[in-house]
């Protein structure tokens, strides 16, 4: 019953409600993995559906993600204790020279809401910083975002630098951002492209 309440509170973007309901569920002895999968992740999946269908817009997505994160903070120690692994590890950032972060943040939130572990490198991330993060965190996926035509070329150069460093094949690369297209993603040899945060989840899942 509390799982339904968590699900509903995430959909409604009700962070205090989510926090209270997750606490109740844990107190009742519900397994952390069950809470994660059947309420938080399920709710964020529905948020993605509603976004795609035009029922939700960015604000609704943001407050749902905020509620989900509130619950996830409470769950994390229990997930670790239970040995439950994430759906995959994702290093994500906006490429060098580009300070835009909202698109990247939305993707990170939706991936987190799908059970991925996120290492967010922020904005204006150089190829060397991406390489360092790949070497340190050994992610399954590396996500690059760019909002500008001028900065999206940084995706190509980052992939080239990863190749030169010999780590390109250790990670799947997904790209996105307003000027980025599927054709561009293929041209620069990225492994995946998503036109929005919601669809980035499906792409990421297909790559792990």
């Amino acid at each position: 019953m509390t799982l339904d309440k968590i699900y509903k509170s995430v959909l409604e973007g009700d962070a205090p409600g989510t926090e209270a309901n997750v606490k109740s569920s844990l107190d009742e002895g519900v397994e952390a993995g069950k809470i994660l999968n059947e309420s938080l992740i399920a709710a964020m999946h529905e948020v993605g559906n509603r976004f795609e269908n035009g029922e939700y817009y960015v604000p609704e997505m943001l407050i749902a993600a905020r509620a989900m994160q509130t619950g996830l903070v409470l769950l994390k120690p229990h997930l670790v204790e239970a040995g439950i692994e994430s759906a995959g590890k994702v290093v994500i950032g906006t490429v060098k020279g580009d300070l835009h972060d909202i698109g990247k943040n939305l993707v990170a939130m939706m991936l987190e809401g799908a059970g991925f572990e996120i290492i967010d490198l922020g904005t204006d991330v150089s190829p060397d910083q991406f390489i360092a993060a790949v070497q340190e965190h050994k992610p399954h996926i590396m996500g690059m975002s760019a909002l500008l035509t001028t900065t999206m070329q940084g995706m190509k150069s980052t992939i080239e630098v990863l190749e030169e460093a010999g780590v390109r094949d250790s990670v799947k690369i997904i790209v996105g951002g307003a000027p980025v297209t599927d054709d561009f993603a293929k041209e620069i040899s990225a492994d995946g492209y998503a036109p929005d945060a919601s669809r980035a989840v499906a792409v990421a899942k297909s790559l792990v």
Partner: protein, 354 residues
């Protein structure tokens, strides 16, 4: 149709729904590296004359000061970070308005500070009567976004709607004074560039847009018309969910019919072409960046063949001439508009591939 129109007459004809002598061309923004390259170190004004661009954009100036190595504080109290290859971007974490208390302490800049109009006055003096003078101001979204922080504004639309509305109202109060001053300076067209959509859809729901922003938008449009301005609205992205509202509010033109947002020039022409002027949408993400010249010419021909018939159309880039656009390709675009955009349009020539 007048065969001896000035640039000004050409642009105004489009806004009046008439057929000009030639499809006009202008851009809201031409990045300085492109200006410099094409004019051998000259100015924006020099480029207007060199390429015979039909409108010149003017705006109010706001002072900025450097604070620290990488941050810029403007008169609005907005702190921006300098990027390597773009204009400074507001830092959400340093946004000045987060609460009613912040709002009560905050005031907009003095709209009538004398320095605010100096560059505009020079431009107007140089081009008045010859080229359309277009005033750039912000409408209902961009000031609140910068003042409250981007993500914070999006959330506040749901959680603090009264605060959002109050911020918008105070910003519009400021803008209307700027507009009145420019009416005295005899600018004739206003353009606003607030991006209210991404490629997927509008950032907020049409319902929220109507409830929170449209009352202010309508107030702005009415005031613009009362001052005698034509009004051209720009937004990136897919604005289809709110376009009817914007048109019903009385906008006179729409731009740029963003291909990235799946905005279709033919659909917009067919649906709205009898009521508003249309401007766009030669691809500035790939074609104007990578060329070749033949692709630019072909893109211009396609746009004119779709949106040119019957007038009411300005051929331009699909957003701006940003720093990634190759100067020669922009020049090619303008020349192609002049070559293929003469009325009566030679449709056979336009639909023939080069």
């Amino acid at each position: 149709m007048n065969s001896e129109m000035t640039s000004r007459e050409r642009v105004l004809a489009v806004l009046k729904g008439q057929i000009p002598d030639r499809v006009p061309h202008f851009e809201w923004e031409i990045n300085s590296p492109v200006v410099t390259a094409l004019t051998n170190g000259g100015t924006y004004e020099d480029l207007i004359e060199l390429l015979d661009i039909d409108a010149v954009v003017v705006g109010a100036e706001y002072h900025k000061e450097l604070i620290g190595n990488n941050l810029i504080l403007n008169e609005w109290g907005v702190t921006s970070a300098k990027g390597a290859v773009e204009r400074p971007l507001p830092v959400d974490a340093l946004a000045p308005i987060r609460s009613w208390q912040d709002f009560e302490k905050w005031s907009a800049p003095d709209p009538l500070a004398p320095f605010r109009f100096e560059t505009a006055k020079r431009r107007i003096k140089r081009f008045k009567g010859q080229r359309a003078i277009i005033l750039y101001v912000r409408d209902v979204w961009s000031h609140p976004r910068d003042l409250m922080g981007y993500m914070e504004l999006l959330i506040a639309c749901l959680e603090q709607p009264d605060l959002v509305s109050a911020v918008v109202e105070r910003c519009i109060d400021h803008t209307l004074i700027i507009i009145e001053r420019f009416a005295e300076l005899e600018a004739e067209v206003v353009f606003t560039g607030d991006d209210i959509a991404d490629n997927h859809s509008t950032l907020i729901s049409p319902k929220l847009w109507e409830a929170l922003f449209m009352p202010h938008f309508r107030r702005l449009v009415k005031a613009l018309h009362d001052f005698g301005f034509y009004y051209w609205k720009h937004s990136d992205g897919n604005i289809m969910p709110v376009l009817d509202m914007l048109v019903d509010a009385g906008i006179d033109g729409i731009d740029p019919i963003d291909p990235l947002g799946n905005m279709d020039l033919a659909t917009i022409k067919e649906t709205y072409g009898d009521n508003i002027a249309i401007k766009g949408n030669v691809d500035c993400v790939d074609v104007l960046v990578n060329g070749p010249k033949e692709a630019v010419i072909q893109a211009v021909k396609e746009c004119i063949s779709i949106a040119g018939p019957g007038g009411g159309y300005v051929c331009s880039s699909s957003n701006t001439i940003h720093s990634g656009v190759k100067p020669d390709l922009y020049k090619t675009m303008v020349e192609a508009i002049h070559t293929y955009g003469t009325y009566p349009l030679d449709m056979e020539r336009l639909i023939t591939s080069i």
